[in-house]
């Protein structure tokens, strides 16, 4: 079963893959990283003016890294706003995804957090640097193959 947005995108010949619906009935699409910056503008113009959240996760050890964007359309007098979830998969070797900061400003800190935790670098982000870990940290903590360094105070402190 294809969702409404997916049908609309097919009608406009935009390459995507529909990943079905999640438990709340929100349709999920997969977009390629090289198309993402243009599709983000298309979705903004379509009406999705609010980026509810952006998160990222590590799909599998040795696999891809996913960057997830949850978009809604905020408008007056609507009980159930339209929502869509976009997943952009990046390879682990050189994870680069275009930043959508210039479309939705609220993605600023969220993309910094995805960069800090997983190492996905967002092109054209104005200040992409670590936000949670100390600036001089080495490594991407939330990757599945990250090994925490043997710092004394973390392991053994009383």
């Amino acid at each position: 079963m294809q969702g409404r947005l997916s049908a609309w995108l097919v009608k406009h010949a935009i390459i995507h893959r529909s990943l079905g619906f999640d438990y709340q009935g929100i349709e999920t699409l997969q977009i390629k990283p090289e198309d993402w910056h243009s599709i983000a503008v298309i979705l903004y113009v379509y009406g999705y003016n609010y980026l509810r959240s952006q998160c990222a996760y590590d799909v599998a050890p040795g696999g891809l890294l996913a960057s997830v964007y949850h978009l809604t359309r905020i408008e007056y007098g609507v009980d159930q706003p339209e929502e869509v979830c976009i997943k952009v998969f990046a390879s682990r070797r050189n994870p680069r995804i275009p930043s959508v900061f210039w479309v939705w400003k609220s993605v600023d800190f969220q993309e910094r957090e995805s960069y800090d935790m997983l190492g996905i670098s967002y092109d054209n982000h104005p200040r992409l640097k670590r936000i949670l870990m100390p600036e001089s940290w080495i490594g991407w903590p939330l990757r599945k193959d990250y090994i925490s360094p043997n710092f004394y105070e973390i392991q053994d402190a009383h």
Binding site: R130, P134, E135, S136, P149, N150, F151, Y152, D156
Partner: protein, 204 residues
């Protein structure tokens, strides 16, 4: 507190942060640039010249020369109060030169690392055990030569020294100071027979 302020140091955007990514350089007679040296001190004793007997396999510590008229530099509010350090309960490493008597903190001499060992006196230290820790510190700094001078590296060095102190404790070479102000056995409660040769005393 050093630990709290160095955690905030990473978030500031001062322009002179870019000059801080220096490399640790090994001291040699031929180099004309600033030489790498270390100063080790405890809070109770002053570091003297290295007249310690060299045990087989241990590197001798190479302390920096004592400097006179050291003033605290780069510690004011306009510098953000930042310093590169790694602070745990027994090991404090600073990328600065700290005068042993007056405790003046010269932040501009970033080619030196200062180690302050056990300022709370949780263990009983002798000259020999102190020298062991200093020579281990010297080995670690030589090993980490070429690494970027960041807090991450200093924390790795500090953690290695803490693990070494724990090893010394388990071997019985240092022991807890029972007159310490805070006696909480932070490296493990004392156990019976841990470092013995396995023979338990007979129970009568």
């Amino acid at each position: 507190m050093a630990a709290a302020s160095s955690a905030y140091a990473g978030f500031s955007m001062r322009p002179w942060r870019s000059s801080r990514s220096q490399k640790l350089r090994k001291s040699s007679a031929l180099s004309v640039s600033a030489q790498q040296a270390e100063v080790e001190q405890t809070e109770t004793k002053l570091e003297t010249e290295s007249t310690t007997t060299k045990q087989p396999g241990m590197t001798t510590p190479r302390p920096a020369e004592k400097q006179v008229n050291v003033q605290s530099k780069n510690m004011g509010k306009e510098y953000g109060g930042q310093w590169l350090s790694s602070t745990t309960r027994h090991v404090r490493i600073f990328a600065a030169y700290i005068d042993p008597e007056t405790c003046e903190f010269d932040q501009t001499q970033m080619d030196k690392l200062t180690l302050i060992l056990d300022p709370t006196d949780e263990f009983v230290w002798t000259d020999e055990t102190c020298t062991k820790v200093y020579s281990y510190f010297q080995e670690l700094v030589d090993h980490y030569e070429g690494a970027p001078l960041t807090e991450y590296t200093l924390r790795l060095i500090g953690s290695d020294i803490e693990h070494y102190i724990r090893k010394l404790l388990f071997q019985g070479e240092i022991k807890y100071n029972m007159d310490a102000r805070v006696l909480n056995f932070s490296m493990g409660k004392p156990r019976v027979g841990f470092s013995y040769d396995g023979q338990l005393p007979d129970a009568y």
